[in-house]
């Protein structure tokens, strides 16, 4: 079945089975391998993308359901000149990633959070990230990076 959508501002078309997931379409057909698949029960959030501006777990959506949609992935988050977005830069500055596997989903979720809630509290960040698992960081520096990306002073939070 034919499917078309706009991904990171570019119109793309593909031929998919009814059971093809959006995550599979992005990874296998568009070679946008920054969207990761870390589980099969929509729990881990490594596959979060934006569909029409909303954070969505792309392993939990059929490619056909995204027909005609505007899709944003991690590959489209940096500035046009290649420099990191504010959120991406904050993750690097505050060591908000280690192995990097959950990171695309974390960045996409953080972007969706900050769009709706530009200055979230620590508790709000932690609550919002319930659908994003990270096994490396203990979340400390992820929460710190997101708060820093929102323009808040994080210098009082312990560690480097």
């Amino acid at each position: 079945m034919k499917v078309s959508m706009t991904v990171n501002g570019r119109l793309v078309e593909g031929d998919v089975e009814g059971r093809t997931l959006l995550s599979g379409f992005l990874r296998d057909q568009l070679s946008l391998t920054g969207t990761h698949v870390g589980c099969d029960t929509a729990q881990c959030g490594a596959c979060v993308v934006h569909v029409d501006g909303v954070a969505v777990k792309s392993c939990n959506m059929l490619a056909l359901e995204a027909d005609g949609a505007e899709v944003g992935t991690i590959e489209g988050q940096a500035h046009a000149d290649g420099s990191l977005s504010v959120i991406q830069q904050a993750f690097q500055d505050h060591h908000g990633l280690q192995c990097g596997f959950c990171t695309p989903g974390m960045v996409m979720s953080a972007a969706a959070l900050l769009k709706d809630n530009p200055r979230p509290t620590e508790a709000e960040v932690r609550k919002y990230l319930e659908g994003n698992l990270c096994r490396c960081t203990g979340y400390h520096n992820i929460v710190k990076a997101i708060m820093a990306a929102s323009g808040q002073d994080v210098s009082h939070i312990a560690a480097e």
Binding site: H95, C99, G100, F101, P104
Partner: protein
Amino acid sequence: MPKDSGIGASSKRREDVRFLTGAGNYTDDINVAGQAYVYFLRSDIAHGRITGLDTSAAEAMPGVVKVFTGKDFEGVGGMPCGWEVTDKHGAPMQEPAHPILAQGKVRHVGDPIAAVVADSLEQARDAAEAIDLEIEELPAVIDMKAAAQEGAVLVHDDLKNNICYDWQLGETDDAKVNEVFAGAAHVTTLDLVNNRLVANPMEPRVAVGEYKRGTDEYTLYTTSQNPHVIRLLMCAFVLGLPEHKVRVVAPDVGGGFGTKIFHYAEEAFCTFAAKACNRPVKWTSSRSEAFMSDAHGRDHVSTIELALDADNNFIGLRTNTYANLGAYLSTFSSSVPTWLHGTLMAGNYKTPVVQVNVRAMFTNTVPVDAYRGAGRPEATFQLERVVDKAARELGVDPIALRRQNFITQFPYDTPVALTYDTGDYNGTMDKLEAAADLAGFAARRAASEAKGKLRGLGINCYIEACGIAPSNIVGMLGARAGLYDAATVRVNATGSISVMVGAHSHGQGHETAFPQVVADMIGIDESMVEIVHGDTSKIPFGMGTYGSRSLAVCGSAMVKATEKVIDKAKKIAAHLLEASEADIELKDGQFSVAGTDKSVAWGDVTLTAYVPHNFPLEVEPGLEETAFYDPANFTFPSGAYACEVELDPETGQVTIEAFTAADDFGNIVNPMIVDGQVHGGIGQGIGQALLENCAYDENGQLLSASFMDYAMPRADDVPFYGVDHSSQTPCTHNPLGVKGCGEAGAIGSPPAVVNAVLDAMNSGGKAVDHIDMPVSPSRVWAAMNS
């Protein structure tokens, strides 16, 4: 002032840019032209005999290339175990066969029976459903103590019982140990469980096998912490392939925590099948599959006894542990409950008599092997829980009791085979008391109580043993491998440097931290140094990354190789400067003649090495050196942790209000990365203490086989952590004075959490002396209302 580059600087991680922009290259991102996909048909019962296996219908399904069963592997070796443990009677451990695909029997849920290779994964999965499988279900043995009984169901029919080994360390004279306990003023005894865990790195395992007929060469792309180890094991013991014809590549690895050390059947299968099918073969684990095929961790049941004299000095310690190894021996599983566990039972204390007894059991469960800390968390949990219980029974301050028994003189020979080279346990405890504001705890407790909550403070210490070595000693203890590492420093003509290292980062930031060391030694910008790792065709050799060994062992090899490079460069510089080599100094990337203003830049020397027109005749052109480094001893990081919890007596809900870590890691290369390692370890330790449990029912069904059922710590389960690494006693035997920091958090945190919960319960007037992990609200509520 913090440094802004080199050793000691919190340099930002260069690898982050690709990870943050979706440009990482993980194994599942690799697709080889013409690849087929494999789906494994796995056992859905814990124990059974295969009475019928007909694949003909599956072979006729669309897109199917070939269906493999155990028959295809009858002439092939099984999965090897890398450590032979000798039991206390001098007999070698029982070592059952571990086939790639089941040979007649299945022994755990998830045991692979057949493998379908097809054009697409969906076709392979569909065809697997058409395999006609008949299994006679057999009674399963799941409980470790039941497995040890006479007449228990045998996991392996060809073994005499389910006991892999009955092992002992420390004092061998039972009468002497009994005498110590009989003469004690006080004995504290504790039964406890170290819950079975699943490592769950966020990247599931993946393997892609490729075979080139024209050159008879294989390539395996795999999610591994140690590609050379995989190549060696697979070539020498499993498939019988010539090592020089096999390349193993582990690109970006999305976390490991030990579970990606081991050589797995799926890796050997994809390599084997690529030739058999004459097509590349790819396997990507689903998370559900990971739960039943990745090696699990922990799973010990122990009784520990601590004897104290009338002055509260520790005079004896005895432990009896049952360790679950699962259905088969995984690559290093035999070493975890023994040499990585028993040797740590002295902890930070000068207990003169220690006896450790371990019985390791086969059961119808997934194999158990190293998971972050690997034996050391199990040792620390036992010891720090029993010390805490003793303090409560004796009515003494738990910190004072610990301090009274600390080892204070180094080097210190423990009664369990180790020699601690350095440490300052009182100094580290001082740091903890300040960093955690223990003086303010009473006020915080009062504030919690004012809102109807109980507040508890848990303290513990830990000792770690990292960078397991030297090879001749571990060989005597049963290791079937050396535990050195290697590095090649290749200086390019223009002065930039590629360092090929045997360690392999799976999140630890080697690409940033390792260049900091080399750049610092030469005095050049970090950006001029690049790390190459994770590919057997590019690096000299490497034992990989685990056991917090990378910087202490491989980093030392890198330092040695860099020293050789500098020595040679000085010869060239001396020639260019027409001076004696002994007078040449290297500073800030300039070679100069001592006491003069004559100098030549690093780049001029490196260019001369490759364009040797004006060159010393006795020196070979080029500038590249390799070093192998075999450490003289383990390194011994140590620390003291404090956890504060709030407990709701109405619901049993526990929240972590504060967590503070004071660690002694010796010298530190990148403080930012070290802090991150500790954060992550604490997160996993809190997960073990409060949330995670890998559960089987009595029939061997895996009840926690997805993230729906296995409670991973989430962002709102944990607090910000306080970390203090200013207590630093450098390692005495490696050139950087570093100790290793990767596992400390996971080792030190579970007892701190449980001690805090018990403190909270007891502060509420409920005399509870133990609670098992995970400390769930239902367990707490039950204990409070018993």
